[in-house]
Amino acid sequence: MDLTFSDEELAFRDEFRAWLADNPPPPDPGEVADGARNAWRAAWQRQLYEGGWAAPGWPAEYGGRGATLTQSAIYFEELGRARVPLPANVLGLLLGGPTLMVWGTDEQKERYLAPILSADEIWCQGFSEPDAGSDLASLKTRAVRNGDDWVVTGQKVWTSAAQYSKWCMLVARTDPDAPKHKGLTYFLMDMEQEEVQVRPLRQITGEAEFNELFIEGARIPDDNVVGGVGNGWKVALTTLMNERAGLGFTLQIRLRQLLDDLIAVAAERGLLDDPRYADQLAELHARCEAIRLMAWKGLTDAERYGQPGPEGSLVKWLWSDTNQEATQLAADIVGAEALVAGTTWSYELLRARGNSIEGGTTEILKNIVAERVLGLPRLKPATA
């Protein structure tokens, strides 16, 4: 056991920390239209890109630094610690690029990777559908071959950044007669066409992080199939595997900061002397520490021994529970301000409700833990 960073890892961290200190993002535009906030995040990504820090985990040949998994996690922790915005093209950087590196042709890598890095082209993810959430493989969006093109019809939902995106990672059914996991194909769909309509989805915070996509006969050239026709499920799994890999470390630091802020308020108001508050804050602190340790254990085990432990699903589950409880406790400690619309505390209280749903519901994570980690029998799905 050695729970310290190596000298190289510390040097990497210090280099990025120093760069962040010298290159702060442009000033936060505050409460402005979503488009202006996106432009701000795109400018920030270009700044990261020019400094060589847009995607350090990408191999050097694609414009990254070939950083190790540990260094990448350090990078995401530092992004969180510095309280800077996420880059505009976070889905391209984290999901699209790495998926193409595994499954893309040389031409596709040549064409798509560089503009992801520079934020010249923003990416979004067209997986979930109104009737295909946790049961993703039951998705119904159809793609039918027409000459050298595919013609796509269907509906997608929970599509972040769709309104700014050039490319959509789209999974569609290309063989309706095949078993549900076999008839899928993974496409890159051009969002700049009339046949794709984006409608913002207003969420309980009042903002619209997500969108619905209405696709009515959109065209995708055959060259934009990723990983082969009928292989979409496997390609999609590669994307999903990357979903929480790095960002988790940013989210974990943000929870730490939120809890530290809350403890500071409690200390200021003398509530740490009240055993009821002290006990609950200490419990949240303990869980926060467990999240940190389990996240690092999962990552470094994967790096060293080639296989991650059960930590991935457990960490996400624990993080969402803890974030929800911390923001809820804030309503008791901070008081009225936590319930006044527009404050950070009230925003976090509402936004946290999404944590146990997005990126795998807690119920599904428990199924994964039960079946794949503990080896418990799977409950037979109800037959239609």
């Binding site: 056991m1 960073f5 055993p275 389990m294 428990k366 418990l376 029998p377 409950l379």
Partner: protein, 341 residues
């Protein structure tokens, strides 16, 4: 960063698991539990292997290994609910080693290292500790009270045997006069912290075994024509057991590592370990009984030994609430320092 064990540590773990699976089988544990006594044959064997002295310096007759190695053994003891005084003895040794003077170490450690002397530990209020595991057989008892600790012989301690719900380590009630025994004059807090890591590790082992037994049972047991482990009410309970266990394991591993590698953080990490492991020990073993259904409530099913060991360990040197109160002070101090910085 590496959370893995070294090859030598893995060897210790494997040896301990194989040995205890054989010598501390459920049948043997039940036999000694029902008789309410330690397994003297197993204790003799463990003494020959040098286990009691694993973390005691070589100059005092021990093996000179560290907190991680001790935690490995304790976890295996917990997995089997082994009826031996190894945990209480090594906790007493940790207190004497860090908390004692040179003379105190020279006087007490060799006997604890060889296992010739059995040690026991408990927190006391006004000199009274109501339940001291292995206290009925102890040659020396360390009482911890208000941040101070003292070593007592059984005569000084006023030992009275008590039948604890966990009978695998014959317990005692101790009532010592205010001036009885010999105060430890070194870094008592560090000694307490090391002892807390050891009992936390045992709790992790208890949880691990409780989960293992439960998973095996709910895969086999059928109702309505389906293994009950396929029902989400049951399988999600098992997932929760794993989460609780892994939280305790993560905190305990870090604390065991800091014991030697980062002593400045040891006290806080030990509080974190004991808080999480005490909670996990209680909840995971309670869930094990529940998931076993009616059979889990019977004497023969053996899950109750895990529940009982967990109850006693969870309370030993303070339960989760006490250690969370300590954690709150650690984080509160940082918040105040942060605000004034």
């Amino acid at each position: 960063m590496d959370f893995g064990l070294t090859d030598d540590q893995r060897d210790i773990q494997r040896t301990a698991r194989e040995l205890l699976a054989d010598r501390a089988s459920p049948e043997r544990v039940r036999e000694h539990a029902e008789a309410g006594r330690h397994d003297d044959r197993l204790w003799t064997e463990l003494r020959e292997l040098g286990w009691p002295g694993i973390a005691i310096p070589e100059e005092h007759g021990g093996q000179g290994l560290g907190g991680v190695e001790l935690a490995i053994l304790c976890e295996e003891l917990g997995r089997t609910v082994a009826p031996v005084p190894l945990l209480p003895s090594t906790m007493a040794a940790a207190l004497v080693q860090a908390g004692g003077s040179v003379q105190q170490r020279e006087r007490w450690l060799p006997g604890l290292a060889s296992g010739e002397h059995v040690g026991a530990v408990a927190a006391a209020t006004d000199g009274v500790a109501g339940l001291v595991p292995s206290g009925a057989d102890a040659d020396l008892i360390v009482l911890v009270e208000d941040g101070a600790a003292r070593v007592l012989t059984p005569e000084e301690a006023g030992v009275e045997a008590v039948a604890a719900i966990d009978p695998t380590r014959p317990a005692a009630r101790v009532a010592a006069a205010a001036d009885a025994g010999e105060p430890l004059t070194g870094d008592v807090a560090a000694g307490v912290a090391r002892a807390l890591v050891a009992v936390s590790a045992e709790l992790v082992g208890v949880c691990d075994r409780a989960l293992e037994m439960t998973v095996a049972y709910v895969k086999e047991r059928k109702q309505f024509g389906t293994p009950v482990g396929a029902y989400q009410a049951v399988s999600h309970r098992c997932a929760q057991m794993l989460l609780d266990t892994e939280i305790a394991r993560a905190a305990t591993s870090e604390a065991a590592w800091t014991a030697d590698a980062d002593p400045d953080r040891l006290r806080e990490c030990a509080a974190l370990a004991k808080a999480t492991a005490s909670d996990a020990g209680r909840s995971v073993t309670a869930s094990a009984i529940q998931a076993h259904g009616g059979i889990g409530f019977t004497w023969e099913a053996d899950v109750h030994w895990l529940f009982k060991r967990a109850q006693v360990d969870a309370a030993l040197l303070g339960g989760a609430k006490k250690h969370r109160a300590r954690l709150a002070r650690f984080v509160g101090e940082r918040a105040v320092v942060g605000a004034t910085a």
